[in-house]
């Protein structure tokens, strides 16, 4: 029994860890005008954020054609996979899930290898962390059904709360959802948002960055008894600040995820999130 795990690049799993856990990452696309980059393949995070700050054109994102997912699935099957678990960014935030579903049905018809495609209803480490957990279990020989069920269970217990420097990028990318309620503020504020059920949900507005970071910690800590904590960061500084915050309520290991170019296009510079897996 060899089940392999596939995610799209918005899981923000660092390449080294993906390799180590045997996770296949399908890159989404970032475009600066006519220039197209495969997320995490053709452009590094540092390069992306540098361009985001200086480029005269704002980046946009796109889902790759179904062929790219097909290719990923077929190459895993050729490698000996007897089942594939594909986990994707929330289906209302991107077309990744539906494209993958289309690709999976084609591949299954041809190969008869079962492929389970899951809509994570979240983003970044929100499904990157569960994907890592089930990938490790896959290596211990668990079945696709077990792994898919566990992935769904983990996703139901995931909390992702983020601070943004501004809502401008979310608004420009149309991923604003209910966070619309936060628009139009005459004062500069740091919005706190939650990604939940495939939507960006507004929580609070905080005037200063340090209070915003502390507040994320307070809100996460209140979500219940924790099983795992991860941080998704746009740069190292934010990552360190969030780690300090997380350590006030969590004493276990903390995994870091880098908010990559596709998520960064919508979150903007300076964004950071704490992701927590609760016991219940």
């Amino acid at each position: 029994m060899t089940v392999r795990v596939v995610v799209d690049s918005t899981a923000d799993i660092p390449p080294a860890r993906a390799r180590e856990l045997g996770i296949t990452v399908v890159p989404l696309l970032v475009l600066f005008g006519d220039e197209e980059f495969r997320d995490g393949v053709d452009i590094t995070n540092e390069e992306f954020y540098r361009r985001l700050a200086t480029s005269p054109v704002m980046p946009t994102t796109a889902t790759p054609p179904p062929a790219l997912f097909e290719q990923a699935f077929r190459s895993l099957i050729a490698d000996g996979a007897t089942g594939i678990l594909a986990i994707h960014i929330g289906s209302e935030l991107s077309a990744s899930y539906s494209t993958s579903t289309t690709a999976a049905s084609v591949v299954m018809r041809d190969t008869h290898v079962p492929i389970e495609v899951i809509d994570s209803r979240t983003v970044s480490a929100g499904f990157g962390l569960p994907a890592e957990i089930v990938a490790a279990e896959a290596r211990q020989g668990r079945s696709l059904e077990e792994l898919a069920a566990h992935a769904r269970d983990l996703l139901s217990r995931i909390h992702l709360i983020a601070v943004l420097d501004t809502l401008d990028f979310l608004q420009r990318g149309g991923r604003i959802g209910r966070a619309q309620a936060m628009l139009g503020t005459l004062l500069s504020v740091k919005p706190l948002i939650e990604v939940r059920d495939s939507a960006v949900v507004p929580l609070e507005k905080v005037r200063t960055r340090s209070k915003a970071l502390d507040r994320i910690g307070e809100l996460i800590a209140r979500r219940g008894e924790l099983e795992a904590v991860a941080i998704a960061e746009s740069d190292e500084t934010v990552g360190k600040q969030l780690e300090t915050v997380a350590q006030t309520f969590w004493h276990g290991p903390i995994e870091h995820f880098a908010l990559g170019p596709v998520v960064g296009t919508h979150a903007g510079p300076g964004a950071g999130a704490i992701v927590a897996l609760t016991r219940q």
């Binding site: 309620a181 005459l186 004062l187 949900v201 609070e204 200063t208 960055r209």
Partner: protein, 595 residues
Amino acid sequence: MLNGGQAGEHPETRMAGNFFSRFARQRSKHISVFNGQDLKRAVMAGHAWLEQHRDTINALNVFPVPDGDTGTNMSLTMRAATKDIADSNELAAYVIAERLSRGALMGARGNSGVILSQILRGMSQGLTGKSTFTAAEFAVALDGAAKLAYQAVIKPVEGTILTVVRESAEAAQASAARGSDMSTLFEDIVASARASVSRTPDLLPALKQAGVVDAGGQGLLMLFEGMWRYTRGESIHMTVGEAEQQVEVHKGTVAIEEDFGYEVVFLVHGENLDVASVRDTITAMGGVSTVVAGDSRLLKVHTHTPTPGKVLDYGVSLGSLQDINIENLQEQSLRYAAESALEHGRVFEAHVSAVESGGSATAVATPPVVQAPVREVGEIGVVAVAAGEGWVKVFESLGVASIVPGGQTMNPSTEELLKAAEDCPASKIILLPNNGNVVMSARQVADLTSKQICVIPTDSLPQGVSALLAFNFEGSLDENCRAMEAAIRHVQVAEITRAVRSVQIDSINVAEGDIIGLVNGHLVTADTEIESVVQEALRRMHTDEHEIITVYFGGDTSRYEAERMAQKIKEWFPSQEIEVVEGGQPYYSYVISAE
């Protein structure tokens, strides 16, 4: 002069003054019981006396800031209290007392107004079921009133209106025990209240430093004194004009000033409306006691004028008018005067220079509640009090459901706040008073509506902003109230204005006209240069320990001036983020927050 018809109906009004004096002396010996009409007239006389001293009471501010309004708040609260009794012929004292209590509760403005409303409520409770009452019964009621007043305040402070009402009640009990009649009772109450007011600086060091007595206590004294003068058979003119500061009681006369025949109140909706120029124009047209409040889009105008048509024409030239209310003061004055004359056999003279009689001050204008554009407010709606166009926009942008204009210049009444809460399309309401003097009236709203109300005790506009920012879209009412209350503690607020009098407080010498800086409500600096004041105020609020400075510039300050000030602040505090926002607040050149 009186018109012939009115005077003709009451020929006794032509009698000479010395007759009245003799009558008054005799009469004061005989009042041992009050009925509803006696109570009504006494309270209205008290209101008139209070109204006459309004500006003097307004000036009794601890800090020499230009927006002192205790006199105005207490007067307007009494106006609302007497609104429903002015034309009443009710003889039962308890009915009149109940109406006073209810009117005051709805119309309470400012903390002093709320305490005053509790005093009237306590008196009403003490008079329950009594068609008439004696001095002893009144003394008991006043004792209950004092107790209720203390309960209305979370942390009662001595040297305030509370001390004055308590000591007055004690004096009333003692006086009644000696067998006093009504006139002697009130004489004793007034003597005690006066002594009590004069002791307030000994009890409250802030008053002593500022060289003033407590404004609320003084207001209560004026109310009692007006009532006492009524028991002596005097009548009191309600002078509202600023020229009539000097108070003179004309025994046996009821004042009528034919020049100011109509009270005109209306709202104007328009563009670029200017409070000062509208007030000046109406005053130039002969309007007296003109009050104009609001912002560039909505103004509330209140004036007394012999030519209401002219004022309304002018109003129409500004924009669209709403809630127009015109009352004939003269007619009311005459009616009240005639009633008084009939009742007391008073001499009725018609040449005295005063403006309104007690009976006419009943117009309480419809509260101008600005409904923000309807937005998704969800289950919880936020109602905020704000003055200044910029502030209104800031609060709207932060998602408040409705804004009640007022705060620094005009404290909204409990009724205005209640209406905004009732009109808000949400069943749970968070109220942001945004001014220390509005907190108590906001708290009263909870008892008057079926909606769930939570008051966040914001005592400045920046605190209101901090509270709103902490609003969590997903949270319950309780969670939000806790979070918002916690959030307001993290903001430091400096207010920059001009001193209205010279004073020395905490070894700070203030000359009238100086620029003064207050930090979190306390005077910290004074100078002739605004830059030095801003710098010192920012230093005193430990700005270097905060991350972001927000400069809200007032109606008298241009954006250009504010940007230049921000540049200076950047030089003083280079590592802080600085934001300049139009506040448009009256009186205060700058309101600056650090957080």
